[in-house]
C-alpha cells in the first residue's frame, strides 16, 4: 500500500537518495525528449514542433490512468497524495506571468535545468533569471501577498470543484488528447518547417 514514505514503509532517511534517483530519471527523460532545446520547446507555440504538447499530455494521461488504477486496486491511497492547493487568482496570475516568461525565455525551470546540464549558455542565464525573479518576489512579498495567500480553496481536486466523476473525466481527457495529437500532426504538416 503506497505511498511508501508517508506510510513509513520506506524510512524517511531514504528520501534524499530516492529524490536523486527520481531526479536522475526526470532529467534523463527531459533531455532525451528534447526539452533541453528552447527552440524545440517554443515550437509548440508556432506549430513547427509539438513535442512539448505530446510529452506533457501523454505523461498526464499515463499518470492519471495509472494512479486511478492503482487506487482502484488498492496499491496506493490516493487521499494520501499531495494535492497541489488551489489559490484561484494566484494560479491564474502566476500562470499568466509564467506563460509570458515561457515564450520570452523559451524554458521552464525543469527544462532549463536539463539544458544547463548539457552546457546551454542561454539556459544558464535563464536559471539566473529565475533566481533573480524569486529574489524580486521575495523582496516585494508584501505587495504580492494578497494574491499569494488569497482566494484559497483548499487542496481540492476537480471532483470537489466541478462535481465530476474522475473516471469519466479521465476518459474524456484521453479522447480529447488523442484527437489533439492527431490535429497537431495535421497542423505541423502545414506549417513551414523550421530547422534548429
Amino acid at each position: 500500500m503506497g505511498p511508501l514514505i508517508p506510510y513509513d514503509i520506506i524510512p524517511f532517511e531514504w528520501s534524499s537518495i530516492i529524490a536523486i534517483i527520481i531526479g536522475l530519471c526526470f532529467g534523463f527523460i527531459l533531455e532525451a525528449s528534447g526539452f533541453s532545446s528552447s527552440r524545440k520547446l517554443a515550437g509548440v507555440f508556432y506549430g513547427y514542433d509539438f513535442a512539448v504538447f505530446k510529452v506533457f499530455f501523454t505523461a498526464a494521461i499515463v499518470s492519471l490512468i495509472g494512479l486511478l488504477y492503482m487506487d482502484y486496486l488498492g496499491h496506493i491511497d490516493i487521499s494520501m497524495l499531495y494535492i497541489h492547493p488551489t489559490y484561484l487568482w494566484g494560479a491564474i496570475i502566476g500562470g499568466a506571468i509564467m506563460g509570458i516568461g515561457f515564450i520570452a525565455g523559451g524554458f521552464c525551470p525543469g527544462t532549463s535545468l536539463s539544458a544547463v546540464a548539457i552546457g546551454k549558455i542561454d539556459a544558464i542565464i535563464n536559471v539566473l533569471g529565475i533566481m533573480v525573479g524569486v529574489f524580486i518576489f521575495s523582496e516585494l512579498y508584501p505587495l504580492f501577498e494578497p494574491i499569494y495567500n488569497g482566494y484559497f480553496y483548499g487542496n481540492i481536486t476537480l471532483e470537489d470543484s466541478l462535481g465530476i466523476n474522475p473516471y469519466w473525466f479521465v476518459f474524456i481527457l484521453t479522447i480529447v488528447a488523442i484527437i489533439m495529437f492527431a490535429v497537431t500532426d495535421m497542423i505541423r504538416k502545414r506549417v513551414k518547417k523550421v530547422f534548429y
Binding site: 490512468i65 492547493p85 525551470p109 473516471y167 479521465v170 484521453t174 479522447i175 488523442i178
Partner: protein, 226 residues
Amino acid sequence: MVNRKLVKFLSLRYKILAFIFIVLAGGLVLLPKHEKQEGISPEKLLANTINPERYISTDALAEKMINQDPSLLLIDVRNESDYKKYTLTNAINIPLKNILDEESEPYLNQDAYDVILFSNDHFHADQAWILCTRLGYKNLHVLNGGINSWYNTIINPKMPTEDMAHTEFELYAFRKAASMYFGVAYPEKVKKATVIKPVTKPSITAAPKKVIVKKKKKKLPIEGGC
C-alpha cells in the same frame, strides 16, 4: 515479406496505441464500483469480536484505578444525563451516538492509553467497541457488566457465606477495601449506619486527561512540488 508486414504494422502503431489508451481509460469508467473498505476486514472484525479478551472485570478495573494506573482512560458511552448523575472517577463522556464524531476520535484512536468503555450494562459499550474496532482503533476494552456490575461488586459487594472458598473471602476483602477507596462508608468501620449510596467524586465533569492526539501520518510538504 516479414519486413513488409512489419512496416504495415508500424504505420498503424499510433492508432493501436491510441486504441489501447482509450480502452484503458474506458475500463476505468466501466469498472464495477465498490465502496472502499475503511478499517479492518469483516473476518478480522469477527475474530476480534469472538475473542473475549476485550472484557475487563470490575475487580481488575478497580485495582487499576486504586493503583492510579496512568495509562487508564475511562469513557462513558451513556447519554449525558446519566453521565451527570453518576459515573466512574475521572471518566469522560462520549455518548454512543457521538462515537464517530470528529471530536471523539482523538480519545478513541490513540495508542497511549488503555481505553475502557462502559455503559449501564456492557451492551452499549460493546456496540461502541465494535464500531471503533471496525475502524481499526486499538487498545479498546469493555467493562464487563458495566456500571450495574460495578455497583454490585465494588460499591456494594455481597458478603460470602461460610461455606464458600477461601478465595471468595479474599475477593470480598479486596472489594470492600476498594469500595472504601471509592468513598463508601461501612457501618462496622464508622459505627454508624449509613445508607450505602454511590458517591460521585467532584472531579468528574472535566476531562481529566490530556489526551495526546495520535499524529496523523500524513505530512504535507510546506510547499508543493515546485
